[in-house]
């Protein structure tokens, strides 16, 4: 009787630890979502204060990264989890790394907003960057939701969205190059625009990664270097 009580208590604590890192990684996700949102807003509204907030708060994202890594290391060392528990810890570690990178990209976008203030040149391009930003923000939100629910369908759907983002990015690149050829004086500004577009496109890629981790966790299969079609075929729901 006493033995079974002990093991229950033991595994309860374990479960709590696992639940905690899951919640922590989602909280980190929430912060990164907000950073990305603010960075895009500061670009759209030319608000230097918002942009400064993003840059200032980046340390919080890094603090999360360090904290979660420590917890996961402890769990791996002390509990030696197996099967789905092990996959969960690995998923959390990888997702944390990607979220930290997304935070960095958001900081990059914010810095660009600070440098350029209210620029009239390339206004049209700014609008397209905003549009791209919206799509990426949506993607991040949905990836994190799919992680929260461990929803493979949603993860696959979100991964699909990355194609649109890549296409939009390429289109922005082409338009920037046209502007640059027309008026060389606008090159510095357009360079910044290209950097921001690139940063956003990379955020999209990282969201894709997170979706792949979700699939890995649920299905136990590593789909990181598999094409989307193959994934769909395997889990075609």
């Amino acid at each position: 009787m006493e033995n079974s009580e002990l093991t229950q208590h033991y595994s309860q604590q374990f479960n709590t630890d696992l639940e905690e890192i899951r919640t922590k990684v989602l909280s980190m996700g929430g912060l990164v979502e907000q950073q990305l949102s603010k960075a895009i807003d500061s670009l759209r509204l030319s608000e230097s204060e918002t942009a400064e907030q993003v840059v200032a708060n980046d340390y919080k994202v890094n603090a999360f990264d360090v904290d979660i890594d420590e917890r996961c290391t402890k769990i791996l060392a002390l509990r030696q989890p197996t099967a789905s528990d092990l996959r969960l810890v690995l998923t959390v570690i990888k997702t944390t790394a990607d979220l930290e990178r997304i935070g960095d990209e958001a900081k990059r976008v914010a810095r660009m907003a600070l440098r350029n203030g209210a620029a009239d040149a390339g206004r049209n391009l700014y609008l397209r960057i905003e549009h791209l930003g919206e799509q990426v923000r949506e993607m991040l939100h949905r990836s994190l939701d799919s992680f929260a629910r461990m929803d493979v369908e949603e993860a696959i759907a979100v991964a699909h969205e990355d194609r649109k983002i890549d296409r939009e990015y390429e289109s922005i690149m082409r338009q920037s190059m046209t502007y640059m050829m027309e008026d060389p004086r606008s090159i510095p500004l357009l360079m910044d625009i290209i950097w921001s577009a690139r940063a956003l496109e990379r955020v999209g890629d990282r969201c894709c990664n997170i979706c792949e981790y979700v699939i890995y966790f649920v299905k136990g299969k590593d789909v990181r270097h598999t094409s989307l079609e193959q994934i769909q075929k395997e889990f075609g729901e």
Partner: protein, 432 residues
């Protein structure tokens, strides 16, 4: 109940009597008696076993004994169980009623357990947070609603003030979140859509700001020309001299109202780039007192009491405006021969600047409304005194920007004290 014991007693008495008789018959009274008593104890032990068996599964096992003490025990158990069942049914009924009425709430409501896990939500919450049953039940709400402000708000556990926050996924919708605790550390989270209210507030502020800005230019023109006209005194017919003076006065008055409104609008929108420097309050007060004495002349006695050399982190210009405002008010509302004291001292958890006057005082019912814009205690009197009616509102906002509060104490006929309380984190000692 008493009867059953009597019954039991008689039973035991009969058994013992029977035993003695049997013993006499057989010739071994004591042995027979012992055997009979052992049998009696055995029967009771057997009944105990049946009781345990019954209690293991009261729903399935039939009541073994209906009479005697044991019967009473079983009857009591039955009664207790019926009581429990009734209460359970009643609670379930209430719960269903509550859930259906909460489902009708226009506000989103989510019931959370002690770990912040989702227990239940109503329709409005499902739409707002895109929750899905049954997989989301038991998960912490913050896994889905991930805004850092909400996470901090729920963690700190003090819910006296609601939280205003942007809705998840949508940067245009604003929500007001209220949390109430009940039961065993359970919480109910209510989210109200206040987008309209926030937008209306914003429009109001923008409107005031725009109107004030637009009024500035025409007023400047009027005041400028009137000033020019007044310079050419000889050219002005006598009958127009006084009207011109009045026009100039009123134009100046309008301009200061407009300037005050603009300052207020800037303070409210937190667009004011506050300098964050160390302000030597003591010397600021001395300067203000000097200005005050110039304004009041010999009418009043203005004294300065510096009890601390603490400095404040903030904007010198804004603080100067705020303190001057308070002093000017004190001067205007104190009769000749009165006195005004300016104090700067260290208090518990912070530092405080106070203006104490021996003026006419303010009735208690006016005090909460004093910092409202254009609020006048005595309309006729204030109009003749001049002023914009915005002074205290400006003071309040400046203090807010410095994380400070304005406190007002007053007694009619004795005087008033206006204090600015700065929290410890804003106060610094001179040498730092």
């Amino acid at each position: 109940m008493g009867n059953s014991w009597v019954e039991e007693f008689w039973q035991l008495a009969l058994i013992i009597l029977g035993g003695i008789l049997l013993g006499l018959l057989v010739g071994q009274v004591w042995i027979v008696l012992v055997v009979v008593l052992i049998l009696y104890i055995g029967r009771n032990l057997f009944n105990l076993q049946r009781l345990i068996h019954y209690l293991n599964d009261p729903n399935r096992v039939e009541i073994p004994v209906h009479f005697g003490i044991w019967g009473v025990i079983y009857a009591r158990i039955e009664r207790m169980r019926n009581g429990y069942h009734q209460r359970e049914r009643k609670l379930n009924g209430l719960l269903t009623q509550f859930q259906s009425s909460a489902a009708a709430l226009p506000d989103a409501a989510v019931a959370l357990g002690s770990y912040g896990e989702i227990r239940w939500w109503n329709q409005a919450a499902r739409e707002m947070f895109k929750l899905r049953a049954p997989q989301d039940i038991g998960q912490p709400l913050v896994n889905f609603f991930r805004a850092p402000e909400l996470i901090d708000y729920l963690a700190q556990g003090r819910f006296a003030k609601p939280l205003e926050i942007t809705a998840p996924g949508n940067s245009y919708k604003k929500l007001s979140i209220r949390v109430t605790t009940y039961g065993n550390n359970e919480r109910l989270l209510l989210a109200q859509d206040i987008t309209d209210r926030v937008m209306a507030e914003q429009m109001r502020k923008d409107f005031v700001g725009n109107v004030s800005h637009e009024l500035r230019t025409p007023l400047t023109v009027i005041a400028g020309f009137v000033e020019n006209m007044q310079l050419e005194e000889e050219q002005i017919p006598q009958q127009w001299k006084k009207p011109l003076a009045l026009i100039s006065e009123q134009a100046a008055r309008m301009r200061s109202i407009v300037e005050d409104l603009l300052l207020l609008a800037r303070l409210e929108s937190a667009g004011v780039k506050m300098q964050s420097a160390r302000v030597d309050v003591a010397s600021l007060i001395e300067t203000i007192a000097k200005d005050g004495r110039a304004l009041a002349g010999d009418r009043l006695d203005i004294s300065v009491h510096i009890e601390s050399r603490q400095q404040v982190a903030g904007d010198l210009g804004l603080l100067r405006s705020a303190f001057t405002n308070l002093l000017v008010n004190a001067i205007h509302y104190t009769h000749d021969g009165g006195e005004i004291q300016l104090r700067w001292k260290k208090v518990k958890d912070g530092c405080e600047f106070a203006v104490e006057d021996s003026g006419e005082g303010i009735a208690a019912e006016h005090i909460p409304r004093l910092t409202e814009r254009f609020y006048r205690v005595d309309v006729g009197r204030s109009r003749e005194r001049g002023g914009t009616g915005l002074g205290l509102a400006i003071v309040k906002h400046i203090l807010q920007q410095h994380e400070a509060v304005l406190r007002i104490e007053s007694k009619v006929g004795h005087g008033s004290t206006f204090s600015c309380y700065f929290p410890a984190k804003r106060c610094q000692t001179e040498t730092q």
